[in-house]
């Protein structure tokens, strides 16, 4: 079985006939002729950013998905059907995301697609999924717009609407801040979190002292930081990705800025600590309540297997990809390998104990996942616990 998996993964692209031949031949040669091995391959699509500046997010997710698919196949597949993932590169561009989706739907005729990573590419692919009644399951998009993108659209990454509010509550009531500056990345992700945070924080009587932004891929954030500090905030909120945030924090350190930094889910990545080092120290961020440092057995097994297979620590993108694959396998197992079957059983999934958090879906296909606050202490991601405050008690 193992050798076939390796072969399948290397060559994502093949026709069903070829796949069947390879299966038959390899089993013939290896002398292993379990009856279930002759069942059709379940092919599912994946569209994500696999090249260009932001390829690392998609690649990480891909590693998680591949690991999950390998585990599923090692345990005999889904009802005896091996799974195969067909990847299409969205290049992180919405237009390319739509093209990739179209390809997967009309050429490969898959009933379910995992993707995309960025909200903009998922939103571009969503109408095509809806029109063709194909399930689209995003392991990385956070825009509040995805909640209402359609009946066939699911995700296991929490919505900005949820995350932004939690951080606003914490800043206002947990820390007692009245003035917060925002330095955000200028795309759907950054704008979404900035808006949600602002609305909530100001409704609670806080004031957003300034909003500064930067482009994805920028490397110099000094002017933004200086302007944020000039507005005299109690804290600076940083919605963005670790690529830029790592450099931003280093520059803040060099400019001797000692204001408290607050950040978001995508902050927690091993790469963050590697790139920013001590500059990441003390940043408080929100994250799904299960994390890579958890000692619970599911997470431990995942981290061990992932590190062994790829020689690196998994980040949150990998964890979400891994969960997405396993959740879909569960849905296919229960509802059958059709878009309708998968969709119906996804809506019924409750409290799935994933490595990216306890996962349920609401009636919009949006994930419900407990969230907590963490921080960096002594070069490690740690739970944030200040005994004197209870972060989520605005009434208290």
């Amino acid at each position: 079985m193992v050798q076939i998996d390796g072969f399948l993964r290397k060559r994502c692209r093949r026709t069903a006939v070829n796949a069947a031949w390879v299966l038959i031949l390899s089993f013939g040669f290896s002398g292993c002729s379990k009856e279930k091995a002759f069942k059709d391959v379940y092919r599912i699509g994946a569209l994500m950013v696999l090249s260009g500046n932001d390829a690392n997010y998609g690649r990480d997710s891909q590693r998680g998905i591949d690991l999950a698919a390998e585990e599923i196949n090692n345990q005999g597949g889904i009802h005896g059907h091996p799974v195969e993932v067909l990847y299409e590169d969205s290049k992180g561009i919405p237009r390319e995301g739509a093209t990739a989706m179209q390809k997967l739907v009309s050429r490969d005729r898959v009933p379910v697609v995992i993707g995309g990573i960025f909200s903009s590419e998922t939103l571009a692919a969503a109408p095509i999924a809806e029109r063709n009644r194909v399930v689209l399951f995003s392991p990385g998009s956070s825009s509040p717009n995805i909640t209402y993108a359609g009946d066939c659209i699911f995700r296991n990454w929490i919505s900005d609407a949820f995350e932004g509010s939690i951080m606003a509550d914490f800043a206002r009531w947990g820390k007692g801040y009245t003035k917060v500056a925002i330095v955000y990345i200028k795309n759907d992700y950054g704008e979404g979190l900035k808006n949600e945070f602002t609305v909530r924080f100001e409704s609670e009587g806080g004031q957003v002292s300034t909003m500064e932004s930067y482009e994805q891929g920028n490397t110099d954030f000094r002017t933004q930081l200086l302007k944020a500090v000039r507005s005299g905030p109690d804290a600076i909120y940083l919605p963005g990705y670790y690529n830029e945030l790592a450099q931003l924090l280093k520059q803040a350190r060099e400019l001797r800025i000692n204001t408290q930094f607050l950040s978001v889910v995508s902050f927690e990545d091993p790469k963050m600590l590697e790139l920013a080092g001590s500059a990441a120290e003390g940043v408080i961020y929100s994250t799904p309540a299960v994390s890579m440092q958890d000692t619970s057995s599911g997470v431990r097994t995942f981290v061990d297997r992932f590190s062994k297979k790829y020689g690196r620590e998994p980040g949150l993108f990998a964890a979400h990809g891994y969960d997405a694959m396993h959740i879909l396998a569960l849905a296919i197992e229960k509802g059958g390998f059709t878009a309708d079957g998968i969709r119906n059983s996804l809506y019924r999934i409750q409290n799935y104990p994933g490595v990216s958090g306890l996962t349920s879906f609401d009636s919009n296909g949006d994930v419900i996942k407990p969230v907590k606050l963490k921080t960096v202490r002594n070069g490690k991601f740690m739970d944030y616990d200040e005994p004197s405050v209870s972060p989520f008690a605005p009434e208290g």
Partner: protein, 288 residues
């Protein structure tokens, strides 16, 4: 305010180093080498491989990387541009874009697209002047940019080969007919331009994380700087670089920061409208 000037000066110094490559090549061949930004990336990655991955001495790694960049520049010229020297200018332009794509994705294939760090995660030593902070690598950037620029002026003004470069730039066909070894002169031009771009890449790499795609934005800004300064003019490239670096940082200070990248191009548009030949450019008559 002092901090803004320091930040602008550093950004400008780097743009200036890269802009010189554009302007020198344009000065000689009247052609924009769009793969120039990728030499910047290559410089950073050569240094990353030698110093960080293989643990070689930083000074030795620096010089070797810079020379490798120079060599890479010559190689690109020899392989991709020389066969097209007398073809239509559009052909070389498209070839340059192709070379840029190949280099960028080649580096991506070798190193992966995720960001790497040359300086490590350690904290840089910070000096303060009045109320501005400047890190030791930033001081190094300013010092080496200044030193290199001075060296370049001496080279172009008072050496034999420098004279040849200027002569070829003045008139390519006249240079050929007076017996100037044009091929060799062009190679030297690419070598020197790439040398400076490679240096800029390493300097940039000490200030920020490096990625195979990092060269493109620097390339575009530096190209803008070269045009604003007056394309073909080396002092113009330096002034243009500093000008763009300052304009970006001051502009973002006064207006919303989200438009920071736009200021360089706003400056470019204003120059195109009111002074198309740039600050120190020769008059449009010369553009053959």
């Amino acid at each position: 305010m002092a901090q803004l000037l320091v930040n602008g000066l550093i950004a400008g110094g780097i743009y200036a180093l890269i802009a010189i490559g554009y302007t020198m090549v344009y000065g000689v061949l009247h052609f924009i080498n769009f793969a120039h930004g990728e030499i910047v990336t290559a410089g950073a990655f050569f240094f990353y491989s030698l110093h960080v991955l293989w643990g070689w001495n930083p000074v030795f790694s620096f010089f070797l990387s810079v020379l490798l960049c120079g060599g890479l520049g010559c190689l690109i010229e020899r392989g991709a541009y020389r066969p097209l020297r007398y073809a239509s200018r559009i052909s070389s332009l498209v070839t340059a874009i192709g070379v840029s794509v190949i280099l960028q994705n080649g580096l991506g294939a070798i190193f992966g697209f995720d960001p790497k760090s040359i300086s490590g995660s350690g904290e840089a030593v910070v000096y303060s002047i009045r109320n501005a902070f400047i890190t030791r690598p930033q001081v190094a950037v300013l010092a080496s940019a200044g030193g290199l620029l001075a060296g370049l002026f001496v080279f172009l003004k008072w050496t034999y080969i420098g004279t040849l470069i200027r002569a070829t730039g003045d008139d390519l066909s006249a240079a050929v007919s007076t017996g100037i070894p044009v091929d060799r002169t062009v190679s030297v031009t690419f070598f020197v331009g790439s040398l400076l771009a490679g240096t800029a890449g390493i300097l940039v790499g000490t200030l920020q994380d490096i990625q195979p795609t990092m060269g493109l934005p620097f390339g575009i800004k530096a190209f803008t700087a070269a045009v604003v300064g007056g394309i073909g003019s080396v002092p113009g490239a330096v002034i243009g670089g500093l000008f763009i670096g300052m304009a970006e940082n001051l502009g973002a200070w006064i207006f919303p920061t989200g438009y920071k990248d736009a200021f360089a191009f706003l400056v470019l548009i204003l120059f195109m409208l009111f002074r198309p030949r740039g600050i120190l450019g020769k008059s449009a008559l010369h553009n053959g």
